[in-house]
């Protein structure tokens, strides 16, 4: 119920916002030498001359049956465009998240275990730096070093999965690293503070009193309970990575979802923008829902709520 209401509100917000965007898709498509009658013909062809309410209903009812409309500029179904982009964006987000987890969880645990010591201060310092670096700038430096000077990887682009999994992963490696730095830094800090919070709880003291070592306690008990804030952050990060990689996709000229939206806005391919933003909002709400379920699995106490 709430779910449906949220989506309905989101769809209305998106539609109104897009209606406000000045600029005529047809005019953009035809360029500066278009004859007025050509323009009128195209507007009619695209269905742009219908009134906004009609177009809103048309759009929403289309989406309900899985029809996301047809791109003005490309003249192919939006669903087709989106699925082609997801093939890049989804693996990129997953890779960035995996990298981030692989770095952040050990780093956060290590820092928590050595709380206050040089290693902790050092790791926390590095994470502060990681958060402060603009990812597009870092990405540019990565390209300069690894693609132009060392020539280990290509400067960008995506060959497609049909070129092989290794080629595909290789193409996404630098962008994933550029995205992961900030996420890993945030995650490492969350892991550390979540662990430190649980370590002060009574049951941990009990476990310590039973003679378990500090490290055993950390891994066996504290970590499990620290998972909840960590999962919350992971959920947020995943949804951010799917849509928020626009600038990185631009730097590495990847045909991802973020760039599809960006391009859609600049070319006034508004049907694409509407539908993709709607899908993204839907995805975020879904991810949050799944994180809630994951909580319940991790922490049986939450199930009763």
């Amino acid at each position: 119920m709430m779910f449906g209401l949220s989506l309905a509100a989101a769809s209305l917000v998106i539609f109104v916002m897009i209606e406000l965007v000045p600029g005529d898709p047809a005019a953009f498509m035809l360029g500066i030498n278009a004859a007025p009658d050509t323009l009128a013909a195209l507007r009619a062809e695209l269905g742009l001359d219908a009134n906004p309410a009609v177009r809103y209903v048309r759009w929403v009812s289309g989406m309900l049956i899985g029809d996301f409309g047809v791109s003005y500029t490309y003249q192919v179904p939006v669903a087709e465009l989106v699925s082609a982009r997801l093939v890049v964006s989804l693996p990129l987000a997953v890779m960035a998240l995996l990298l981030s987890i692989l770095i952040a969880i050990p780093a956060g645990m290590f820092a928590a275990a050595r709380r206050g010591q040089a290693a902790d201060v050092g790791i926390m310092g590095v994470t502060q730096l990681g958060i402060a670096i603009p990812n597009f700038w870092f990405a540019m430096l990565l390209v300069m070093v690894f693609a132009i000077h060392l020539r280990w990887v290509s400067a960008g682009g995506f060959p497609g999965w049909e070129a092989g999994v290794i080629e595909g992963v290789k193409a996404l490696l630098l962008p994933a690293v550029a995205l992961a730095v900030q996420q890993a830094s945030i995650l490492a800090r969350v892991v550390r503070s979540a662990l430190l919070d649980t370590l002060t709880q009574d049951y941990i003291r009990t476990a310590r009193a039973r003679g378990l070592s500090r490290r055993q306690v950390l891994v066996r008990h504290a970590f499990r309970n620290a998972m909840i804030p960590v999962l919350t952050i992971l959920g947020l990060q995943f949804s951010f990575l799917i849509a928020g990689a626009v600038i990185i996709e631009n730097v590495f000229f990847l045909p991802g979802l973020g760039r599809l939206v960006f391009q859609g806005i600049t070319q006034r391919d508004l049907i694409v923008v509407e539908s993709v933003v709607m899908l993204l909002v839907f995805a975020v709400i879904m991810v949050n829902f799944m994180v809630d379920i994951a909580y319940a699995i991790i922490d049986p106490r939450l199930r009763r709520r």
Binding site: M2, L5, S6, A9, A10, V13, M17, I18, L20, V21, P22, G23, R115, G116, Q117, V121, Q128, L129, I131, A132, I133, P134, F136, W137, M140, L141, M144, L196, D197, T200, S239, F240, A243, G244, V246, I247, N250, G258, V261, F262, I265, T266, V273, V277, L280, V281, V284, I285, N288
Partner: protein, 276 residues
């Protein structure tokens, strides 16, 4: 013990660097080594020298002067965006807490979730597509996403305050919810808001840099760090200073603000200090 010794130092460093950046930004209002609006093609792309301490850009403008004015742009946009977020978010959070469990609380929280569900950058791009790119619209875009942050933080902290005995006492005395919020709740959560504000300030600078990097922030000839990077990164091989220094300026400023925010949290919030 060692922790207490370390944190104030980070706080000090953070505050000191932030102050320096702020001071430089303010100074650029009255003085920069060179004018940033003049174009002198003959003097372009010069390496650092005594005349141009950090060299010149592709239009022959002094990079140091550009960075100084850029600091002003970034700081102004970020501060105003945080201000906007606080101005709207804090009252929302306070009223949600005051009406805990009521329809207003529900509405604020649902609204928050909805805003959070929108991709930040995409919405920022849409806002600038509607209103045109400008510093004001960058403030608006960043500010909107600060609202739910402050609403949520305020509500969470305020709820904890509402359970305290002295609040009950105040209620018994017949004080209204609004008055209690202003007189008792707000002062007690102000330190938390300062901490969150500092962190959002740093984030705001990063987002502003990203927006102006894609051309959606302050418009030329007003320099901004993000656009300086975008304009000069193709020249990194023969004028590396142009692509390095604005990046460093962003990193240093955001780092300082984060250190300050973290330090402040530990310093101002006795609850956390006690807990650790």
């Amino acid at each position: 013990m060692s922790r207490i010794r370390h944190m104030p130092r980070a706080l000090l460093v953070g505050l000191a660097v932030t102050t320096v950046v702020l001071a430089v930004a303010l100074m650029s209002l009255v003085w920069t080594p060179h004018a940033v609006t003049g174009v002198d093609i003959a003097a372009r792309l010069q390496p650092p020298s005594t005349t141009y301490l950090l060299g010149t850009d592709h239009f022959g403008r002094d990079l140091l002067s550009m960075l100084m004015v850029g600091a002003r742009t970034s700081m102004a946009v970020a501060i105003l965006a945080v201000g906007l977020g606080m101005l709207v978010g804090v009252p929302l959070g306070l009223s949600a807490a005051a009406m805990h469990g009521g329809w207003l609380d529900d509405l604020v929280m649902r609204g928050n979730d909805l805003v959070f569900a929108f991709p930040v950058l995409v919405i920022a791009i849409l806002i600038t597509a509607v209103f045109g790119p400008s510093a004001v619209n960058a403030i608006l875009a960043i500010g909107i996403f600060n609202i739910p942050v402050f609403a949520r933080v305020t509500r969470g902290a305020a709820l904890a305050i509402w359970t305290q005995d002295y609040i009950r006492a105040a209620r018994v005395c017949g004080k209204g919810r609004a008055r209690i919020s202003m007189e008792h709740v707000l002062p007690n959560i102000s330190s938390l808001l300062i901490v969150q504000g500092t962190i959002q300030f740093g984030l705001g600078i990063l987002v502003e840099a990203g927006l102006s990097y894609v051309g959606l922030g302050a418009q030329p000839p007003l320099p901004s760090w993000g656009r300086m990077l975008a304009d000069s990164q193709t020249m990194i091989s023969f004028a590396p200073q142009l692509a390095i220094f604005p990046g460093l300026a962003i990193v240093i400023t955001v780092l300082a603000l984060n250190l300050a925010g973290d330090g402040l949290r530990d310093f101002l919030d006795p609850r956390i200090r006690r807990a650790r």
